[in-house]
Amino acid sequence: MSLLGIDQTQVQRLRATADEITRSLAPLLRAHTTVTVERAVLRLLGVDGVDHHQVPLPNVVVNHLREKAGDGAAAAVCAAMLHTGASIGEVAEQVARGELDLHRLAQVPEDEVRALGHELAAEGLARIRANVREREERISRLPVRGQPWKYVIVATGNIHEDVIQARAAVRRGADIIAVIRTTGQSLLDYVPYGPTTEGFGGTYATQANFRIMRAALDEVAEETGHYVRLVNYASGLCMPEIVVMGAFERLDMMLNDSMYGILFRDINPVRTFVDQFFSRMVDAAAGIIINTGEDNYLTTADAVEAAHTVLASDFINESFGLAAGLRSDLLGLGHAFEIDPDLEDSFLLELSQALLLREVFPDSPLKYMPPTKHMSGDVFKGYLMNAMFNLSGIWSHQGIQLLGMLTEAMHTPFLQDRFLALQNADYVMNAARHIQDQVTFRPDSLVVRRAHEVLDKTGRLLEEVRGAGLLEAISAGWFADISRPADGGKGLLGVLKKSGRYFNPCKSVLAVQLGLEKEIDTWI
């Protein structure tokens, strides 16, 4: 039953508009691949490790292929395997050592190449499926708590220190641990390798670091009796690869937005759209909940004025996500509590927005971001703002409550800050546990009126975007006041036109797994 009197047919209309917007990009996506998609495919097929310069082997192979990667990196590598009888790892290493030139291979029958490719892809997928089963088994034994799930970050830069802090947070009730990524990693066109102990404002996302944290959280979960979800960041120049690594290490959530890289990291739009699609197919297969980054809009734009851009972007993220096989319950669509706390009735406006998102996406575990922009060195006031955020979270039944830190304006969280954040959420959410069942809103209330206003504005924006085209809208600065032309941005060189022979063995394997056989060819 709607608290806000939201008309679901209006919502469906907006959803349809968003689908038109995303679908009009399908031909572009279909025509391209990217270096990181190819590297992700190689990783899925089993390539891992680094050369003696610490360059990851997937990068070595794709760099080596140059334009030929437009045929699909898997094609060349599988051909080489058939040719040399070596394993995929050995092929990559031979390339790295300069012992094998993939440009000079004698012809092998295409159907053998494809068969081998599909076999390796199926093995990769099996590894991921095993993780899905393990997650299910663990959760049935160690039940997760009810929503909102309490999500806290660790960000020391040192994975071993992160482990200590994460475990401590879990002992005090955290449901989700996110390891924040070091500054600038999103712009690296490779994924660093091995355990790391140095990072700025975060820790490198490496597969080894994922593994270390996963093991630590599994261990502490046995003691606390609740499965702990692990999160890392995918969006950036290596989005699909990081998702593959996460899928292999049983990460449970990934920051994986269809537009974040474009808008906030000036990554080329085509690159990002292509990358997000493939990476989300992997998320879907791995049962990974994505987190989208609409909160970022409000760090530059005003949260009252730009509320509808958040919702519009959520519709687009949803549409892309569903197309890539993500079920609604894997869509952690983002929004945030960022209204100026000095504004009269600011809490009511926040509540309105939170309830609106909840009603528009009833089946998705919304990711609700805490106040950040208006946090200051006044940790006492900050603690209150976080309390009101927590109240809004329980009131609107958010799925994923990213807990605010009272020292947000100063540093990544101290151990004690995380504890205080958990205590804040526990107190407020328990004290107002059933508030949603208690209360209705007057039809003429600010809460209801504001929600309708935002929804209407969202509809108008989506229609304009449909009219102009998404790439044009982005180029014109309609999102987050940032203009990104389709032919600009970082990583453009890594966008490759697919050749007629292009082969990605994971595509069909994933499509079958996800039941996307019918539509997949329109997208990829």
């Binding site: 220190e161 802090q165 060195g377 006044d378 940790v379 006492f380 304006a409 969280p413 101290f414 151990l415």
Partner: protein, 253 residues
Amino acid sequence: MDLNLREIRPYGDTLSDGAMQMSFTLPLPTGPLAKEAALRFVRRLGLAEADVVHMAELGEGFTFFIVYGKTRLFIDATDITVTAVESDVWDRATCDEKIRELFGRKLRIVGACIGEDAHTVGIDAIMNMKGYAGHYGLERFSMIDAFNLGAQVEPETLLARALEKQADAVLVSQVVTQRDAHLQNLTRFVELAEAAGVRDRLVLIAGGPRLDHKLALELGYDAGFGRGTFAEHVASFIITHLARSRGSSGSKG
């Protein structure tokens, strides 16, 4: 974690980074001078790096500061000896049983909140039937006769009533600590007991939110209890203490 117990300092987000938070008010008008004064002040406290993260005007020439900083100072945790009440804690049934076994009679316990202090919730929590946070009070123990005299009892009165009731133990509660009122009242009671020559006949126990065992011993009590105490803690201590002193000085019962 490579913890060196000889060099313990605060942990912000790395071992021994010495990070901590402080807040205080200076009697200086808000502005750059006050901010600099705040920084100097926290440096005097031994914070090597410090940041005034917030400064607010309180009016009347005062400024409030929130500071985060890091210190290189540390303490040695290997030479700390803790003064804590040493006795097992038994549940009510066990306490009753032990009393029956060890003394063969009911124990008599008299308690009060002395001086001008009228905060009875604490002593009631320990003594009254109902108890506190689901833990019954001493009145509920079948082998204890508990007499709670309540609030604002003069030390003289408490001692007189304890002697009259032939108490085994006396419980003294003190909640108000402003201007050290609790220290004066607690000391006064011990002095009275000593002057009357009955100090050794009584187990003397002090309690209150700002009290701990160490302070109570210093003041001449046998034990002290702070926040979060339940009746069973007190009963267990009295039993242990009486049994021990009976053991050393022969049967009394």
